[in-house]
């Protein structure tokens, strides 16, 4: 396990190194993603021109929630970005066979190929958002709070990354797996708003089926001290469960893949 994690980081560092080769691509990716996020923020602002709260949440609180989700996403992008297009990039080109021949679990190799161009921009933007909203909301920024924000940010990143990893197995059947993962990923947008605004079906969707809400909503409720909530304590458990499922699903897909041949 330790060996695998070490190797994962070796692969990741190699992959980030190689990304540095393409500074222009990186910059373009970063700028366009930040522009995209700012447009979304403008939308939220427009909504608040017509109302002063959404399900009891005011503008600043909502932006805090938004920032928390963005922090989680930045972690996901940094560590698990490569789950998007394994169909096209690895399986279809036959590169996956060389990965299967390595003395590590193929998932480690695949995840280690992440090359994000968005993580840094998101991280900076999310920290700016979170800090400025905490100040505006007169929430004192204690060491404990900072630790909490980082801790739940990382776990949130792992939850979303785990969900992506589960759906990435679509790549074994279709080289358009990026669209499958992308569609699922887009559902995280639902968790950028307080879940009170949703009906039961959507609530179940984003807390139980695809627990995006644990990467944003529940931590936000805790930081805002809206109510005593103990649910935050199960976030690590949820992360672990997601990853157990992800690894099992992957092993199952690998078995299928090896019996059909490619």
């Amino acid at each position: 396990m330790i060996r695998n994690i070490k190797l994962y980081f070796s692969f990741l560092v190699a992959s980030l190194k190689r990304m540095m080769e393409y500074r222009v691509d990186c910059l373009v990716g970063m700028v366009s993603q930040i522009a995209f996020q700012i447009i979304e923020l403008v939308f939220i602002w427009i909504i608040f021109q017509h109302t002063d709260n959404i399900a009891g949440w005011n503008f600043e609180q909502l932006l805090l929630l938004y920032g928390i989700m963005m922090l989680s996403i930045s972690i996901t992008d940094l560590l698990f970005d490569s789950t998007y297009d394994i169909g096209k990039r690895l399986i279809r080109k036959g590169k996956f066979d060389t990965i299967l021949l390595r003395p590590v679990h193929p998932l480690i190799s695949v995840l280690g190929e992440s090359e994000t161009s968005t993580a840094l921009g998101y991280m900076i933007l999310s920290i700016v958002l979170i800090v400025s909203m905490l100040i505006k909301l007169h929430i004192s920024i204690t060491v404990l709070l900072i630790i909490k924000i980082l801790y739940f940010g990382i776990l949130g990143g792992f939850i979303i990354g785990g969900i992506q990893t589960i759906f990435s197995i679509a790549g074994f059947w279709t080289y358009k797996s990026n669209e499958v993962v992308w569609s699922v990923f887009q559902l995280h947008k639902l968790a950028e708003y307080p879940i009170e605004i949703y009906n039961r079906f959507i609530r179940i969707l984003i807390t139980i089926i695809l627990p995006f809400a644990f990467a944003s909503y529940y931590p936000a409720v805790d930081y805002l001290e809206i109510e005593q909530n103990y649910i935050i304590y199960i976030v690590p458990l949820i992360t672990i469960i997601i990853w157990i499922i992800a690894v099992s699903v992957w092993n199952w897909a690998l078995k299928k893949y090896r019996s059909t041949g490619n």
Partner: protein
């Protein structure tokens, strides 16, 4: 005990039979129909430690399929593979540690990284001791002439340069068994020779077991001691290369330089063992069965038609033998 044991190995591929058009596609979605194709049909062999085996056969004979099963990339439909006491398909990671493999032009190196960085990652993956790594790197750099390549990115290397690095990467962790599936495809003669020499050297030093598939029979001539010949999924020969040549290489090719030809040379009574491959005003090339005829017989019958100035005699190589086998001319026992 043999290092590779293969017993009654079978691989059937399922090929989906889709009908044309969108309707056929939808039909297939709900009611998939498959056709089975047997790629490897009940093969068995044992390979001892340190053997250099050439695994040959026509396109589509089932070579790559076999290699994929030996490496654990592909699950056999039935039958058994044991490599150094491990079933590759069940204990993949453990098996991967002790083997190395090259598949044609798929690279195991990191495309955008300098070669040396890939080597360092490989060192980490296989947990190669510093000492071994240093020694191997030095040795491989020398034999394969990698000195100027190590700092280049893989994507900027030519095919031959890439393959040399690829071969080095494959042997870096002192694997016990190495599978090479068409490692010389597309390479020039010098690089081919370089790689052959490398394989032979390492085999001598480390007793690495090597299974090599190739369509360049020079590879086999120079590297392998043993041949396994597969045809339509079944093994039709397994044994020493020299024995193979003696058994099937019954022909000799003689080329005569001639002048004053008085008529076209016709094949008379001895038709079956005597074949004119090429004929023109100044030369003639003849293939004959050396068990039935001698070169003297040939000279005698040709000299009736022309004056012989010179001649070259050549034993039939693997290539000619295989051509005959593939055409179905030789094996009927």
């Amino acid at each position: 005990m043999a290092i590779i044991e293969v017993k009654n190995l079978v691989k059937k591929y399922k090929i989906s039979e889709k009908e044309n058009g969108i309707l056929g596609y939808i039909k297939h979605l709900f009611h998939p129909k498959y056709k089975e194709q047997i790629a490897v049909n009940n093969i068995s062999f044992n390979i001892e430690k340190g053997e250099l085996v050439g695994y040959i056969g026509e396109n589509g004979a089932g070579k790559s399929t076999t290699i994929k099963m030996l490496t654990g990339l592909l699950t056999p439909t039935s039958g058994q593979v044991v490599v150094n006491g491990i079933v590759p398909n069940e204990k993949r990671i453990l098996n991967n540690k002790q083997i190395g493999a090259v598949f044609g032009q798929k690279t195991q190196l990191w495309w955008d990284l300098p070669v040396i960085e890939s080597f360092k990652l490989i060192k980490k993956m296989y947990e190669i001791p510093d000492e071994d790594y240093k020694n191997n790197l030095k040795k491989f750099t020398k034999i394969l002439d990698l000195k100027d390549l190590l700092d280049k990115q893989v994507k900027n290397l030519s095919l031959g340069q890439k393959m040399r690095c690829e071969i080095a990467a494959t042997f870096l962790h002192n694997p016990k068994v190495v599978y090479l599936d068409e490692p010389t495809i597309g390479l020039d003669i010098l690089v081919k020779e370089n790689i052959r020499k490398f394989i032979k050297d390492i085999n001598k030093e480390q007793h690495t077991t090597v299974i090599l598939t190739t369509h360049d029979l020079k590879d086999i001539e120079e590297v392998c001691d043993r041949i396994i010949l597969i045809d339509k999924g079944t093994i039709i020969y397994d044994g020493e290369k020299e024995v193979f040549k003696n058994k099937y290489g019954k022909h000799i090719i003689a080329e005569f330089i001639i002048q004053n030809k008085n008529s076209n040379i016709t094949v008379e009574t001895i038709e079956e063992e005597f074949e004119i491959i090429e004929e023109n005003e100044t030369s003639i090339k003849i293939k004959f069965n050396h068990e039935r005829l001698t070169i003297i017989d040939i000279v005698k019958s040709i000299s009736k038609y022309c004056e012989i100035l010179d001649m070259h005699i050549q034993e039939e190589g693997l290539e000619e033998i295989l051509k005959e086998i593939y055409r179905g001319e030789l094996i009927n026992d």
